[in-house]
Structure formats: C-alpha cells, structure tokens
Amino acid sequence: MAPEKLTMAGALNRALRDAMHADDSVLVFGEDVGTLGGVFRITDGLTAEFGDQRCFDTPLAESGILGMAIGMAMNGMRPVVEMQFDAFAYPAFEQLVSHAAKMRNRTRGRVGLPIVIRVPYAGGIGGVEHHCDSSEAYYAHTPGLHVLAPSGPGDAYGLLRQAIESDDPVVFLEPKKLYFSRAEADLASPVPPIGKAVVCRAGTDATLIAYGPAVPVALEAAEAAAQEGRSLQVVDVRSIVPFDDETVCAAVRSTGRAVVVAEAAGFASVSSEIAARVMERCFHSLHAPVRRVTGFDIPYPPPKLEHFQLPSVDRILDAVDDLQWEES
C-alpha cells in the first residue's frame, strides 16, 4: 500500500476488517456495532462483509458483553468488543478486573484471554457527562491488562492489529476527538511493537511525555516553544502498559527536564506513575522536578466549560517555564 491520507476512524475500521480477514476466530460485538456500524462508525460494514455471526449487536449490558467475550475467548475465539463510551465500560469493571485480568494467572497460564476491549475515550468533543471520561488509570493499575492509546491513524491501525494478535486482554483506548482528523499513513509499514514508546519530535531543552489525545497538544506546544527558541522533545508513550522505561528515561536524561501531559484527572493516575518513575530513575539527571499538566481532580466538565479541563498549549508552556531554567 502507498501512504494515504485517512482518519483514525477509517484506520481502525480497516484494522478490524483486515484482522477479520486474517483470522476467522476474530469476532466483533457490542452495542450498535452491527447494522449501524457503531455510533462512531468504527465497525461500519463489518456485518455486511462478514455476516452477523462475526460482527453482531448484543443486548444492552456491558458486563454481559465482556463476560460473554471472556467465555468465547476461553473457547477459541478472539473477541473484539466495543464499550460505546468510556463511562459505559464501568458496568463491566468486575468482569474486567476479577476475570479478564486474572484468568491467565489463575489458571497458571493454561487459559489466556485474547480479548480486545475497545473504548472510545476522553473528551474534547463537547459531549455531555459520562461521554468524556479519561479512564486509563483504572485499567493501568490493574495487573494482567495491556493498555494502549494511539495518537494517530497509522499507529492506531498498527496497534489495533497487534492488540488483536496479542494473547492477553488489551484495553484499547481510542481518543474520540482524534477519530476524524486526517493524516498521512502507510498502513503497510509496521509500527513499533506493544511496549515501545516513540520520540515523535526531537528536542534538546526539555521532554514532553504524552499519550493518546494529549500527543497532538504536546506537539503543538513544542511547535510554539520552537518559535520562542526553546527546543522541546516529545515522547508518545503509546503503550501505557507495558510501559517503555528505556525510551522514556533515555529521552528525559538527554534533556534533563520533563513535563508529563495527560487529559485524565491527575491524582493517582498514569501521569503520577510516569512522573514518579522518571524521577526515581533519572533523579540525578534532572535540573528540576518533573511537572504534570493534567486534567483537574474534578468530574469531567459540561461542554461549555471543558476547555478549562483539557491540557492546553499555554498550560504546557507555563509548566515548561517552571522547570527552573535559571539554575542550569
């Protein structure tokens, strides 16, 4: 395939289609994923192409969807389920934490669960409450789950294919606000494996560490900083679990300063973990403590107020300014 311009939604749809072609045991189900093709159209056309035994609607119950997926995975299938919106994955929490995450360990490796739980997640779309939660911390804290968050079409395609091929349950977080932004992507060229972060912009003065919806904002901030003559490096974490200490720490050591950027509430979050482990591991290379630019510790705001909650270029640059430049 030649590089082409496409949306993340389109790339994800392509990934599902290609995975279903590649392996008959791959099934797609959830709420409205069949005839409708999903409320975001990520599963568009799959029922028409593969029939309603491979892509089908379920009754309206998320614990049921994941619980049935676990059983199907126990019996040879590779289910890819959709949780319609982030907050609507919460009814499946017990199935996720007490079963999906624990089954392989419980059975001493005899029963692995190759399940992908797709979650259209995070905000910036003017959605009403329950439609904009950044719920990655709940999943990242749960041993036994892989947690991925792509930031663009190409990576979304590659990571979803890898997630479907993984023999472990993967929570696949799809930034809603990036679904329909187009970018160049060559779906044929492989992406780095699960567990690898990528430096997506070179820089020498400080390192911005971001994932999912925060990556484009971090890149924007780096662009703006460049105008002001400050060179910011940007790392796209991609794989929250497993986390790539090697790439992230090498990047931070190379600049000596870091800011973690994430949309989720900051307290006891993935950004706490990144800040903590970077400071633990790079302490003596740091000129200043790692700063965090995150959502505030509040319920996600209503549409008219959400711009306050989202990490902005300004907030990122303010944090960078606070990295005690005078001292070095």
Partner: protein, 374 residues
C-alpha cells in the same frame, strides 16, 4: 422455617403467580381512530383529566419540536426526542401527587416539563452549561439519567427512605426497552420487591435501543413478563393511548401508595424520530416501518375522542396551542441566551468543602486567566 411439601411454611414460597402476569394484549381505552374500547378492570379517566392531558400533549409536542429546532441551530449539544411518545411522558407526570418523585432518563425531558419543571432548566444538560439545571430536592425530579437503568436503584432508595419515615410518597421511575437488559434493572426491581418499595417502573418500549430492535434485546413474551420473576405484577399498556396510560399508571400508583409494593408497567410505543439528532435511523430501519406509527399518533387520537364528545372545540384547541407556543418562546429565550462560563463552578461543587488540592488547581486557572487578560 421447617420444610414441608404442602404446608404453609414452604421456604421456596410457591405463591399464586397468575396475578403477576400481564394481559396478552396491551390495555387500550381509546383506539387509533379515537373510539373508546371497553376494557374490564379499566375505566376511562374523567373528561377533565383527559382534557388536561390533551393540553399537556400539545405542549409536549411543541416542546419536542422546539428542542429539535434548537439543536439544529446549535443551541443544544444534542437532543433525544420523545416525539410520538408524548402520551407516556404526560401520563407519567399527571398520575403523580404532590411530593411524589419522578426519575427520568435523557429522553424524558417532556415528562419533566409536564411535571412542572422550568423547560430551560430541564434542558441545561443538553445545552451544556452545566450537568443538571433544576433542583431535585425542591422539584422531587431526579437528574436526567444517562447511565442506563442506574437511576432505577436511586428511585428504590428514595421510595424506601420515605417509607421508613412513614410517608406515603410514590416514585415513578422511567426507563427504555434497552435499559431492561442492564444488571441494574434486575437489581432495582428485586430490591424494590423485597423491600416492598412504592415504585412504579414504567418501561417505555419504543422498539429500539439506538439501532438495536427489541428482538435483539430480549426473547421474553413481553417486557412486562419480567415482573413475575421478582414477584412484581406486570402490566402492558398501549403507549400511544394517554387514556389507557392514565388509567393503568394511575392504578399502579394507587397500589404502590396503598402499600402493595412496586409495580411494573410496559408501555408499547415507538420512537418516531432517530435516537438523537446525531443518529441516522435510515441505516437500520425503513420509512415503511415508521409510517403506520404516524397514524397512531398519541395526540390526534385523544383529540378525535374529545372533539367527538364536545369536550374540545377550536377555541379551546387554539388556547392550548397558544399556551404551548408561549412555552416554546420561553425555551428560545432561555436557550438562545449565552450564560457566561465561570471556571469557579468547576471546583465549587466537587465536595461540600473544596480540598486543598482543588484550591491549588483553581488558583492555577485563575492565574492563567489573569495573565491572558494582561
């Protein structure tokens, strides 16, 4: 609790089950042509109640149309319309007494307004200024529930609390056909039955959960057949017949208030419009399916009945339309007004007292804004 096959003390509680099963055909009192249908056990509401219901139906329809127009003008973020379901909306509100509670979903804004809540406050969630606009403690109307079936349990709690205090409050809790598949629906009906909580569960079966038709939601004979599994009487009613709804729901509210415990009512109606303005119903259903339902419109039916009996004439009808128009005006005025967004609201209500961390975070925003101004 000794066990004994034929004695009274059977711990497995085989009780008479028959009375818990719904009728095979939903209760109709006024048919689509406006003609009364005699029904054993269900009388037509008196004409005053029907006229009042008609006026409310006209207002509800106008409310739906106006909200739909406002969403197209970008004044509402999204709107899930109850167009075609107005009879359920009006009846759910009209059968309640002062002090009773209503637990609506996102689709039940017309019921909230019929209950007397300000239409602009009712639509705050969908306008996006804040999550919930009205005061639940003052109106006894719970916030519009989005996470499906979760609010049914809150309804049980409100009802049980009132009962523990010896109040005779009744709670009307509404959900859709799709929501009956959620675990919380099961737990709510079971808790209500075990505690004999005075809750009337109204399932507005409009045939769809977004794109998913009822037959993918359940294989049960009907949703009302779920009642017996909890020891709750289940009834089925024509959801486009406001007379039948007033009668069936009114009786259910009466039994709940009398201490007979929770009631389950399945209203058979139809979602005439798409799930919301953002939905494309053409992807999953044909106009041929919709058309017959337009002929079963809940308003024309009772209007024909009332006019046929001289209970409604052009003047009265015009007056109700005029009242409805004023409601629409109030909606336009309130929803076209831009409410200035105050960042302090974000931190003020997370806890009774903001935590030190929230104070720090609020100060951060204040500082940022101050510097923007400069």
């Amino acid at each position: 609790m000794a066990f004994n096959w034929h004695g009274e003390q059977n711990p497995f509680m085989t009780r008479d089950a028959a009375h818990l099963l719904p009728s095979t055909v939903p209760v109709t009192l006024i048919d689509p042509d406006g003609d009364p249908v005699p029904q054993v056990g269900h009388d037509l509401p008196d004409s005053e109640a029907l006229v009042r219901a008609f006026a409310a139906l006209v207002a509800a329809r106008r409310f739906n149309d106006q909200a739909y127009a406002l969403v197209r003008q970008g004044r509402l973020a999204v709107y899930p319309s109850s167009h075609g379901q107005e009879a359920c909306q009006v009846a759910a509100a009209h059968v309640l007494a002062d002090g009773d509670w209503l637990f609506p979903t996102y689709r039940d804004t017309a019921a909230v307004v019929a209950r007397g809540v300000d239409p602009v406050q009712t639509l705050t969630l969908l306008k996006g200024d804040w999550h919930n606009g009205y005061d639940p403690t003052e109106t006894h109307v719970a916030p519009l529930a989005t996470p499906l079936a979760t609010h049914l349990l809150h309804a049980v709690g409100v009802a049980h609390a009132a009962r523990l205090r010896g109040e005779d409050t009744v709670v009307m809790a509404i959900c859709g056909d799709g929501a009956t598949s959620e675990g919380d629906f099961h737990e709510a009906l079971n808790f209500a039955a075990v505690f004999r909580a005075p809750v009337v569960f109204l399932v507005q079966n409009n045939g769809y959960a977004i794109s998913v038709p009822l037959d993918r939601q359940t294989a049960a004979p009907s949703l009302a057949h779920k009642g017996i599994g909890y020891g709750i009487p289940g009834e089925r009613v024509d959801g486009n017949d406001v007379a039948a709804l007033l009668s069936v729901l009114g009786a259910a509210v009466g039994r709940a208030r009398a201490g007979e415990g929770p009631q389950l009512v399945e209203a058979h109606t139809y979602r005439v419009q798409a799930h919301t303005n953002a939905d494309d119903a053409g992807r999953y259903r044909t106009d041929d399916e919709v058309t017959p339902w337009l002929a079963r419109d809940p308003i024309t039916r009772v209007e024909t009945y009332l006019r046929g009996r001289g209970l409604l004439d052009d003047d009265k009808a015009a007056a109700y339309a005029e009242t409805a128009e004023r409601l629409a005006e109030r909606m336009r005025a309130g929803l076209n007004a831009d409410v200035p967004a105050d960042y302090r609201d974000l931190f003020a209500h997370v806890y009774a007292e903001p935590t030190p961390q929230l104070r720090e975070q609020q100060a951060l925003v204040a500082d940022e804004l101050a510097r923007e101004v400069r």
